[in-house]
């Protein structure tokens, strides 16, 4: 609550407290209890107005109620300032102004628009009868007749006829009573036409309003009829305590109704909170309709989504007719980036609260956009993952192709050449000079080394043992080749998918290469095991540690390769405490 709203709510209390000692003048309502009741009634109206104002900032009803609360006190000015100039005249002449604003608030709460033209006319009727009575009073009332005389003449007096003034005042007051009664009846009818959610809030307001309208009419009627008749009809109306129940019922019923109704009003914020809470989980489409129904209290609400250019479907995917507004049903589109993403078909009465509808549609738009963004992001992520897998697969395929080419081409030719050289050496026998034999022997040795180097190269590209025998034998073979004593523990049998075997193999191969090159380790432990649909690969040494994926392309490449296979790569390497390379790879079906 802002500071000036606090001031508005505090002002009546402060004024009341400050003026309390002054209230001891002549008049027919000097009874303390009646005065307190009067003061509290106005304060309740101000409070109801401020609550409404806070919860429906777009609505003028809150302002009207605050204003009505302050106008309520016009009739009390006389008690506070009985001897000041024309205050008693104005106090008596203008009293009842709050009725006009109360009538307007009753037929618009919690919005600020009159839903029907007759409602506007009825309020205008109240305003007109109040205005007519006020003007008539000002130009006909004489001090001491109609209002207390404090020695100040009525400067507006045009017709100094006490009987005429009295009769006109009674008649016009009665006319105002009738107008208010009509407003009360219209409020009762309105209650039957609003949405269930609005009806819940309007119920206390309407009850209070109808009591206010009915008692006002009855009191005005009682004033109009002969005093004797009134005495027979309402014998207690002359009792000293009568003003208390009169003001309690007539004055307080509507303000209390408004206050209760205002407190029941859902703020747009609370509706949005409910809505967002209801969006938990997916898919959003299936949850949107029930969440909206609950959040804005419209059990008949529907949400339809465009399917293509002409067809529509509901949250369950069932085909639906095109959403169109009809009597009592409003169609509110959810538009995002120039496209209609959904249409809400809801009780037209909700439009009385544009703040709520605006907040809810904005929230739904955000949720739909968010879901779309999430779907787009997931699709892009999946595409990125697939792309990485394709890159790794393509690289593997290329390695295999190169290995095959080496094997089928260069290696075969070199092997054939080696056989030819051997045959040549055998053919020459002892006839060849030692120079030729030495040269042939040297050529044979070179050739053998070339074959061996080519074999190592091919092995590094696509090890035949991995292809033919699987991960276990391939890793054991790596361990046997490793100069550092390597213990291998493999806790599963059988083959895995080739990409998984290849990734795990290269993790172990790269880790052992790093051990050999950098770790100065005395022992290495390699572990392969299956756990819950994953292959766990670990290579741990007792070397220097201090390895970092950022410092070398080998480990970085391994991390990328493991990620491309949908796995996790972990490097633990503290200087002086060895290195642990681990990968967790999903083994799929």
């Amino acid at each position: 609550m802002t500071s000036w709203r606090r001031l508005l709510i505090a002002a009546p209390v402060v004024v009341f407290a400050a003026t309390w000692p002054l209230i001891d003048g002549p008049g027919f309502r000097t009874d303390a209890l009646a005065f307190i009741t009067d003061a509290v009634t106005g304060w309740i109206l101000v409070a109801a107005g401020l609550v409404t104002w806070s919860r429906r900032p777009d609505s003028r009803t809150g302002v009207w109620l605050v204003a009505a609360g302050y106008l309520w006190y016009v009739g009390d000015l006389y008690f506070v300032l009985p001897s000041v100039s024309i205050v008693p005249l104005l106090s008596f002449g203008l009293r009842g102004a709050y009725d006009v604003l109360l009538a307007a608030a009753l037929l618009t709460f919690p919005g600020s628009r009159f839903s029907r033209r007759p409602a506007r006319l009825a309020v205008l009727g109240v305003a007109a009868t109040w205005g007519a009575r006020a003007v008539t009073f000002l130009i006909t009332a004489r001090p001491g007749f109609g209002y207390p005389d404090n020695g100040t003449p009525n400067p507006f007096l045009l017709f100094d006829d006490g009987a005429l003034a009295h009769n006109l005042d009674l008649d016009l007051t009665m006319a105002r009573g009738v107008a208010i009664l009509i407003v009360g009846l219209m409020a009762a009818v309105r209650l039957t036409r609003v949405s269930p959610a609005t009806r819940r809030v309007l119920m206390p307001v309407t009850i209070g309003g109808v009591i206010w309208a009915t008692t006002t009419f009855l009191v005005d009627l009682g004033a109009l009829v002969d005093a004797n008749v009134r005495g027979q009809l309402l014998p207690w109306a002359h009792a000293a305590w009568w003003p208390v129940p009169e003001y309690l019922v007539r004055g307080s019923a509507a303000p209390v109704g408004f206050l209760v109704g205002a407190l029941m009003l859902r703020t747009a914020r609370s509706a949005v909170v409910d809505l967002v809470t209801g969006f938990e989980g997916r898919p959003l489409r299936a949850r949107l309709e029930p969440s909206l129904r609950s959040a804005i209290g419209d059990p008949g609400l529907r949400v339809l989504y465009p399917d293509g250019d002409t067809s529509w479907s509901d949250g369950t995917g069932r085909t639906a007719g095109a959403p169109t507004a009809s009597p009592g049903i409003a169609a509110t589109p959810i538009i995002s980036h120039g496209q209609t993403r959904a249409v809400l078909l809801h009780d037209a009465a909700l439009l009385e609260d544009p703040g709520l509808v605006g907040a809810v549609t904005a929230t739904v738009r955000l949720a739909i956009d968010n879901e779309q963004l999430t779907e787009d992001l997931e699709a892009q992520l999946e595409e990125t993952r697939a792309s990485r897998r394709r890159i790794v697969d393509a690289a593997d395929a290329e390695r295999q192709r190169i290995e095959r080419d080496l094997h089928d081409g260069a290696q075969q030719r070199l092997v054939s050449l080696a056989i030819s050289l051997r045959m040549l050496g055998d053919s020459l026998g002892d006839e060849a000079s030692s120079e030729v034999r030495d040269e042939l022997s040297a050529a044979g040795t070179e050739l053998r080394e070339a074959i061996e180097e080519l074999r190592e190269l091919a092995h590094g590209l696509d090890p035949a043992i991995l292809r033919e025998s699987g991960l276990g034998p391939a890793v054991r073979s790596l361990a046997e080749r490793c100069p550092t004593p390597t213990r291998v523990r493999i806790e599963f049998d059988g083959r895995l998918a080739r990409p998984i075997e290849a990734t795990a193999y290269f993790v172990v191969a790269e880790a052992l290469t790093n051990v050999t090159k950098h770790a100065s380790a005395t022992a290495v432990a390699v572990s392969l095991r299956l756990d819950g649909g994953h292959l766990l690969v670990e290579v741990e040494d007792d070397g220097l540690g201090g390895a970092s994926a950022a410092s070398g392309s080998g480990l970085r490449g391994l991390a990328d390769r493991v990620a491309a296979a949908g796995g996790r790569f972990d490097l633990g390497s503290v200087a002086g405490r060895g290195t642990r390379v681990a990968a967790v790879l999903p083994i799929g079906q």
């Binding site: 094997h407 089928d408 290696q411 075969q412 030719r413 092997v415 054939s416 080696a418 056989i419 030819s420 051997r422 045959m423 053998r448 074959i451 074999r455 092995h459 090890p463 035949a464 043992i465 033919e468 025998s469 699987g470 034998p473 073979s477 046997e480």
Partner: protein, 130 residues
């Protein structure tokens, strides 16, 4: 797994079937073996090799591990199941250690690294000429 020669000069009655898709290699093997008195027949791939094994009834089969239409291990298995009695020697440029499991499963009589192929190495699998 490379055998030591036990009979460096087997008799001319021995027929060796060389199954390898590499023509240059087959030519070298033909020259090498014919010079040693063997009769050589050739198979250019797995299917051709199986046909030759049935038709020529060789005394020894040199079978490349990498063939265009099947792996040498599969061909060895099919030859055995087809009733071939000749010893089958798998040959490859891959080291024996890389292929040990597959060699064992194939039922082959032995394995010779192509780089180590020689008449004595082959003769070791044939024993004395009949």
């Amino acid at each position: 797994m490379t055998a030591h020669p036990v009979n460096p000069r087997p008799g001319p009655a021995h027929t060796v079937l060389v199954i390898d898709d590499h023509e240059g290699f087959r030519l070298r093997m033909r020259r090498l073996l014919e010079r040693e008195g063997y009769r050589v027949v050739e198979g250019v791939d797995g299917a051709d090799g199986i046909r030759r094994a049935v038709g020529e009834r060789p005394d020894l089969i040199l079978l490349d591990v990498n063939l265009p239409d099947a792996s040498g291990f599969d061909v060895a298995t099919r030859l055995h199941s087809g009733g071939a009695t000749a010893p089958i020697i798998l040959i490859s440029t891959h080291p024996a250690t890389d292929l040990a499991d597959s060699i064992r499963r194939s039922g082959a009589a032995g394995f010779i690294d192509k780089a180590d192929l020689s008449a004595p190495a082959i003769a070791a699998f044939l024993g004395s000429p009949s």
